[in-house]
């Protein structure tokens, strides 16, 4: 393999990791290709679709728009880390299933990570208009958004009182 690599260390889903990457490696590539965390998806090349949304230091970010090397020491949470593998689902995950907020599932991890961030910023009582405006950076081609909006409102209410909302990883 040609080209120089550089080392970067961060915490991903609560685990410390170090990787040697080509400097042009994006966070989403680090997650998918180096760490095999393939739940974070790539649906476009212009930072429009939101399929790659993860949390960095507690805030939602499109992982296709930041270089891995910019995240030295950062705390990254992906869809795989939102709930413990053998534990209960995060209330927002549960709300997406309960409200049929997904069809093909490809945009879903980004939608859920965005939804959790909307709740962090806007609280647990979300009206329809707020949710629709806040989803500006996430595209779904299957659901017509109707059930995603319902799921986020329900998930936001279910997150009230903490529970699984404040993850150890964050």
């Amino acid at each position: 393999m040609a080209g120089e690599t550089a080392a970067v260390s961060m915490t991903v889903n609560g685990k410390p990791i170090t990787a040697n990457v080509d400097p042009r490696t994006l966070l989403v590539q680090l997650l998918r290709e180096h760490l095999r965390l393939t739940g974070t998806h790539v649906g476009c090349d212009t930072s429009q679709c939101g399929a790659c949304v993860v949390h960095v230091n507690g805030k939602a970010i499109k992982s296709c728009t930041i270089l891995a090397l910019q995240l030295e020491g950062a705390n990254v949470l992906t869809i795989e880390g939102l709930a413990a593998p053998d534990g209960p689902l995060h209330p927002m995950q549960e709300a997406f299933r309960e409200n049929h907020g997904l069809q093909c599932g490809f945009c879903t991890p980004g939608m859920i990570m965005t939804a959790v961030d909307i709740v962090r910023r806007k609280g647990n009582e979300l009206d329809d208009r707020t949710i629709r405006e806040e989803l500006d950076g996430n595209i779904c081609r299957c659901t017509g958004y109707h059930n995603i909006v319902k799921a986020i409102a329900a998930g936001a209410r279910a997150m009230r009182g903490g529970g699984a909302t404040s993850q150890a990883a964050e």
């Binding site: 393999m1 476009c44 989803l135």
Partner: protein, 788 residues
């Protein structure tokens, strides 16, 4: 109704892996030793290739091979094909031009792939592709279908003079002429059905993996129909014999038709894998998908509807030019013909219909089926004509529709289709109530007080789904049959695997197919798994499109379950020492009629396999049955969608303020999933009506080549949708299912445009009705009209 049977809103079994990020889409799969493919694509719409120098690229770091169309041809890799023969009205066959997987002598659209670089990493493949030197002789291009047949237009393929693929027609021109002569009123419209880019959120991808030891290929592919892909790549492209090619469609992230087709990239991934001796992976970038995935729609139509003095429709005629792009994609020829003109009767009794369709080549991406495929175009023609006719004759648009509805079934239309069952008045009536149609005048006045123009638009659509009887489609030119297959494997412990030729890419088959089994066998839904999307596991099947998986795929499953029940009864008879005819099966229990003797499902399945209670002469051990189901007719879902909009005359911005959908899908297996399908279809139809549109400039450059330029509907384009149903059972399949996947996309565009034109008071509006388009249309109506 049981909690997990037919009609229950069962939460989806497949969801857990998708909400936890543990699904397996093609790009999530990696093969040991995998290399990466990157395609060099034409930047020109039309050019001859004078030379390609790949040497500088081949010397770049990490490059394993740089392969060209000439090498593909030398390896005798065949062309891609269109599998539906259409004959012109003069009897001549359609003009199918050669479509090599890598362009050799010339390129015919921006994005036409001509060379592939295979390297150790994707970044290296991309870097190397920049070093390829191609000497093009650029030719004049044509992108506009309306201009493609002009003598001045450049000829794209030698085989097709005037770029004309076929000149097809349906109906009796003379009889329609007579109907128009007898008319009191004729409504005339010029219609552009805008070109769309499907944009499933998962980009297409392929991994080709050649095993030199066995001479067998494996292809992981984002396809809606893995067996059809295998058949075409084996029998026509000639990559490998069918039994030496395994096609796996793992989790697929949406299709909408665009993943039906057999594309160059998967062919090249297989071929390149053999050439370099390594698995080869290709994943489309989104901007690449814009110039590599088949687009949809792109019709230019003049249509007329003749009415008598009472508003009864006497006849309809339409002349359409359909843009099929630079090459004929897999099913492209069928879309503007048998999937379009056959639906021009809508929900109405129309004695005479005549339709002419010219299909043309242009220097654009190939066009093929996209959600609805021909039926949205037909519905738009019919529903715009009826709505505008009502306005011109000062009749209530709902009443004019009701007056013309087909009321007796079966109903033979003049355009092939025989509608088997429906109640169009029932869905219209329910929709009018839900929409509070009587209150519209009041709402319009309220909007006017806010300076807004309010409009209401109807779309009483019909679609032909559940495609389709093999004999029927064969007689219309299809190169395939459109039956479906199912196999039911019952395990000794009583759990069940269903192998279906249908393929889910968002539709939830793992749940709905299991619901049918749970209903029939009385076993918990968690004891049932659905296997699909792998040609090595599943018997030949036709895949999923045309809203056919419920009506056709589940009917095949029902047939297989009939056989399972019959065999299990035989086993039970031996166990219970009773006559086979006395065995009753209900709620998972086999009992002997008139006695208290019974055996549980799990006991019978175990006995089928241990085979202790019967001899091999009497009964074969095991419990596994298959079925192939071929329907007797298309199905005819139909319904009424009502859209209400507010237009801001200052900006031309349209807000959809209410949406009512009342659909008749026949028997519904899972209402939650059906509603989701309707929501998604409406969103795609609203996208077409309000914001989506692929735009080519005069040189054939795609101006809308990414999500930055092509407006995908977002959450705030859409309102909360009010979705309801009426039910007439489909008599053409054993389950009574009609299908629901395309309805929204078929109904929605006409409803939106009817609503906006009602609001702004002019019919001169072309999709997409963007704010500038609506504003410009308003300016033509004597300046800005007063908000009445």
């Amino acid at each position: 109704m049981s909690a997990t049977g037919i009609g229950a809103a069962v939460r989806r079994k497949e969801d857990r892996r998708f909400i936890t990020g543990t699904g397996h889409y093609t790009d999530d799969i990696n093969r040991p030793g995998q290399a990466y493919a990157y395609f060099l694509r034409s930047p020109h719409a039309h050019a001859t290739i004078k030379s390609i120098d790949v040497k500088p690229a081949a010397q770049m770091p990490g490059v394993l091979a740089v392969l060209t169309g000439a090498e593909l041809a030398a390896d005798k890799i065949g062309n891609l094909i269109c599998g539906w023969m259409i004959h012109s009205k003069d009897g001549s066959p359609m003009k199918m031009a050669p479509h090599p997987a890598l362009a050799n002598a010339k390129v015919c659209h921006v994005g036409d792939p001509l060379t592939v670089v295979v390297a150790e990493s994707l970044a290296q493949a991309r870097d190397a592709a920049e070093k390829i030197v191609v000497d093009y002789a650029v030719l004049p291009a044509v992108a506009d279908p309306a201009a493609a047949q002009k003598p001045s237009a450049p000829r794209i393929h030698d085989i097709a003079p005037n770029n004309t693929i076929y000149q097809w027609h349906l109906g009796e021109a003379g009889a329609v002429e007579a109907a128009f002569r007898a008319a009191r009123h004729v409504t005339r419209l010029d219609i552009v059905n805008n070109r769309l880019v499907p944009n499933a959120i998962e980009p297409r991808a392929a991994i080709g993996d050649y095993d030199a030891g066995t001479g067998a290929f494996t292809l992981w592919n984002t396809t809606q129909n893995p067996h059809v892909a295998r058949l075409v790549i084996a029998a026509f492209v000639g990559m490998a014999p069918e039994h030496k090619l395994r096609v796996i469609a793992p989790d697929v992230g949406g299709g909408f038709g665009s993943k039906i087709f057999i594309y160059p990239e998967e062919v090249v991934a297989l071929w390149a894998s053999k050439r370099v001796g390594r698995p080869v992976k290709w994943v489309a970038e989104r901007s690449e998908a814009f110039v590599a995935d088949a687009h949809g729609r792109d019709h230019v139509t003049h249509a007329e509807m003749a009415f008598d003095a009472e508003g009864k429709i006497l006849g309809l005629r339409a002349k359409t030019v359909a843009n099929l792009g630079a090459y004929m994609s897999t099913f492209s020829s069928s879309v503007p013909t048998y999937l379009y003109a056959t639906l021009l009767s809508g929900q109405y009794e129309i004695a005479q219909i005549y339709c002419e369709v010219d299909a043309v080549y242009t220097n654009t991406v190939p066009v093929d089926a996209y959600r609805g495929a021909g039926r949205p175009e037909a519905t738009f023609v019919v529903e715009r004509l009826v709505e505008v006719g009502a306005r011109e004759m000062s009749q209530d648009p709902a009443e004019l529709r009701r007056k013309n509805f087909v009321k007796k079934f079966p109903h033979q239309t003049p355009v092939i289709m025989a509608y088997d069952a429906g109640d169009y008045n029932a869905s219209l009536k329910k929709a009018l109530e839900l929409a509070d149609y009587k209150g519209f005048g009041r709402r319009k006045r309220e909007s006017a007080r806010d300076g807004k123009l309010r409009g209401i638009g109807f779309s009483t659509y019909i679609e032909a789904c559940g495609i389709a009887p093999s004999q029927a489609v064969g007689s219309l030119g299809a190169g395939v049959g459109l039956w479906e297959s199912a196999e039911v494997r019952v395990n000794p412990t009583g759990s069940v695997e269903i192998l279906t030729g249908s393929h889910a890419h968002g539709q939830g088959h793992e749940t709905t197919f299991a619901q049918l089994v749970s209903e029939r066998l009385g076993i918990p839904i968690d004891n049932i798994s659905v296997v699909h999307g792998d040609t090595d596991k599943v018997q030949f099947g036709m895949g999923t499109y045309g809203s056919r998986s419920g009506a056709v795929g589940m009917s095949a499953l029902a047939k297989a379950l009939d056989k399972i029940e019959a065999k299990a009864k035989k086993v039970a008879a031996h166990m219970l020492e009773a006559a086979e005819g006395d065995i009753e099966f209900k709620d998972g229990k086999f009992s002997v009629a008139g006695t208290d003797k019974w055996a549980a499902w799990g006991d019978v399945t175990l006995n089928a396999y241990v085979a202790h209670k019967f001899s091999g002469q009497e009964l074969e051990p095991g419990l596994k049955e298959g079925a192939f189901y071929d329907p007797t007719n298309f199905t005819f879902p139909a319904g009424c969608h009502i859209c209400e909009v507010e237009v801001d005359p200052e900006t031309g911005n349209t807000e959809i303020v209410a949406w009512i959908a009342v659909d008749d899908f026949g028997v519904i297996v899972n209402p939650m999933i059906v509603e989701g399908q309707v929501h998604g279809g409406i969103a795609q139809g609203v996208g077409q009506a309000l914001c989506e549109g692929a735009v080519y400039d005069k040189d054939g450059q795609l101006v809308t080549g990414s999500f930055m330029d092509y407006c995908m509907p977002r959450a705030d384009h859409l309102p909360t949708l009010k979705v309801d149903t009426t039910v007439t059972k489909c008599p053409s399949n054993p389950l009574g299912i009609k299908g629901c996947g395309e309805a929204g996309a078929i109904a929605a565009p006409a409803a939106v445009i009817n609503a906006i034109t009602d609001a702004i008071g002019t019919e001169g509006l072309t999709m997409p009705a963007t704010p500038p388009a609506v504003w410009a249309a308003l300016q033509k109506v004597n300046g800005i009209p007063k908000a009445a």
